[in-house]
């Protein structure tokens, strides 16, 4: 399948990535190339076959309903680029 500027722009947007000029051409070629090799799947006989999301038949893995100690807030904030008063800091999102 052919990947045009609009399509690579759409996929980059979904991915929250910005491609520079040179990168965009490369990304178009790469995505086209890999998708051409994914075409092989179209020959598989999958009518009526259930899709499989997970290899083991595990459903609803529950643990006992016991209160446990959670991580200290300070510890989890240590890797954040910017914090204030025990919170993550982001740019302003409301006018």
């Amino acid at each position: 399948m052919r990947i045009d500027d609009a399509m690579i722009g759409y996929v980059a947007d979904l991915s929250r990535l910005r491609l520079e000029e040179g990168e965009r051409e490369r990304a178009k070629r790469d995505l086209e190339e890999i998708l051409s090799h994914m075409e092989g799947l179209q020959g598989a006989k999958v009518d009526g076959v259930e899709p499989m999301t997970h290899p083991q038949p595990i459903t609803n893995a529950l643990r006992p309903d016991v209160v446990e100690q959670s991580f200290p807030r300070e510890l989890l904030l240590e890797n954040a680029p910017e914090t204030a008063e025990g919170c993550f800091v982001t740019p302003k999102t409301v006018e």
Partner: protein, 480 residues
């Protein structure tokens, strides 16, 4: 020396755990010609070795591997230590907690020496896509060690350390084990807790060991396996040893795997291994396994879809790289991700988002999940006819660093490994020969889900009959 033997000598007070640890640290610092390590934890390792010595002094034995050094792939968390995933995104990340496998290793007295290099976020199969430079194959420094757990494989092959852990999403333990001439196990999905391993593709990822022998892999797996309330998919695995030898064992040979695109030397090495088993009493069973034709496309679609979702968490807010300049929240996300991720990671995120996007979901992602069902059914049926399936690890032997003009050729190096993850099965990679250039050739034995113990018994039996696991890269004599 094997890890089991080293552990025995430490227990018998023939060698001190401190001496062994010092030597492993020295080798990691001065002897790492392979760029295998990303960090060495000298302080933590020496503390642990001292603890082991003290316990031994009062007659307490923590485990058969107490005092034995190990290296961990740098996508496994150790509390208070850096975990980089070989990415600019995680360059300064300090782990707030330890992975379950790390807690188990520490409890057992195993000494963690440091963290090993990998393809960024474990995406790749040559260990060239590391932000910190490529890993080199100890058998030939011009060649790749395989990937993505290339640093762990190179560290064990180069005798820097007798044991290492890696993660395997589509062959990332087995393929570098094969290329580096060491033994590597991808356990059954659910055998080992994934808590504290940075997620690549959650329905495929599994932590597993690298060692010199299958017997060493058994010891380390017995320490790290088990059900863990912090990983709802973990179930643990029984490691009962089965009778040694191949007498009466049924070994399946999927002939479609040997039809095309495979090096003659690889094919011959696998047939030689099959013959060793046959002469030892095994029955070789011809298998028809045709889903191999769909393995690579189905794997790339499923793994990239899951990766695109897992890596959405990197937003420049909670942890990881944040761009210096941005105009608003959206711009902060986009710039941080665009500057923080490398080329291959971006490629996979975009492929994943494409196959999950409206209009393409059914044709790609849903179809790949249906093919996954077909792959699992085919393996389940094949494993009713035999005790294990024998296949090459990779159709080729190790390429040169930088030799990746044809991306499809590079993807095809994983042709025989990816289906095992899709089906959630265990598979053991073992050295079984060398090519004309002296580079190792690996074979893999694939078993039924939760038959890891039986698989290891077969591996141990093979290694009792052959000496390929003893091959050692030049210049590593006298190392650990």
């Amino acid at each position: 020396m094997t890890a089991v033997e080293l552990g025995r000598r430490i227990r018998n007070r023939e060698i001190s755990a401190l001496r062994v640890t010092e030597e492993a640290i020295r080798l990691g610092k001065d002897g790492d010609a392979y760029n295998a390590y990303l960090s060495i934890d000298e302080e933590g390792a020496m503390e642990q070795a001292e603890r082991v010595e003290e316990e031994l002094h009062v007659g307490k034995i923590l485990s058969p591997l107490a005092g034995v050094p190990i290296a961990l792939k740098d996508n496994i968390l150790i509390r208070g230590k850096k975990t980089t995933c070989a990415s600019k995104m995680m360059e300064h990340f300090v782990s707030p907690y330890s992975a379950t496998v790390v807690e188990k290793l520490i409890q057992a007295g195993v000494v963690i020496i440091g963290k090993t290099n990998l393809d960024e976020f474990a995406m790749g199969n040559t260990s060239e896509y590391s932000y910190f430079g490529p890993v080199k194959n100890p058998f030939d420094l011009q060649r790749v060690p395989g990937g993505s757990s290339g640093g762990s494989a190179a560290a064990v092959a180069g005798r820097l350390v007798p044991l290492a852990l890696g993660t395997d999403t589509g062959g990332s333990i087995r393929q570098p084990a094969g290329f580096c001439g060491v033994t590597g196990l991808k356990p059954t999905y659910g055998a080992v807790s994934r808590y504290g391993a940075v997620a690549h593709a959650s329905s495929l990822d599994q932590i597993g060991p690298f060692a010199r022998t299958a017997a060493d892999c058994r010891e380390i797996l017995s320490l790290i396996q088990g059900k863990d309330p912090r990983d709802g998919t973990s179930m643990g695995v029984s490691l009962k040893e089965t009778a040694r030898g191949f007498s009466g064992k049924r070994i399946g040979i999927p002939h479609a795997y040997f039809d095309q695109g495979i090096d003659t030397e690889v094919r011959e090495a696998i047939f030689r291994a099959a013959n060793v088993m046959k002469e030892a009493g095994a029955v070789l069973v011809d298998l028809t396994m045709e889903t191999v034709d769909y393995a690579i496309p189905a794997y790339y679609i499923v793994s990239s879809a899951e990766a695109s979702s897992n890596l959405a968490r990197f937003d420049g807010i909670k942890y990881g790289y944040r761009a210096e300049e941005f105009t608003d929240l959206e711009d902060l996300y986009v710039k941080s991700r665009s500057e923080g991720f490398g080329t291959e990671v971006k490629r996979r995120i975009m492929l994943g988002n494409f196959v999950l996007s409206s209009g393409y979901y059914d044709a790609y992602y849903k179809r790949a999940m249906q093919v996954r069902t077909l792959i699992k059914q085919e393996f389940d049926a094949a494993l009713l006819q035999c005790d294990a399936i024998l296949s090459p690890v990779s159709p080729v032997t190790t390429p040169r660093i930088g030799d990746r003009e044809d991306p499809q050729k590079i993807r095809m190096m994983d042709l025989y490994t990816v289906s095992v993850n899709m089906a959630g099965l265990p598979a053991l990679a073992l050295p079984c020969g060398q090519d004309g250039k002296g580079m190792p050739i690996g074979m893999q034995l694939i078993g039924k889900a939760f038959s890891d113990g039986e698989l290891l018994s077969l591996g141990e039996s093979y290694q009792e009959l052959t000496g390929y696991h003893g091959m050692q890269p030049p210049g590593t004599e006298g190392n650990l």
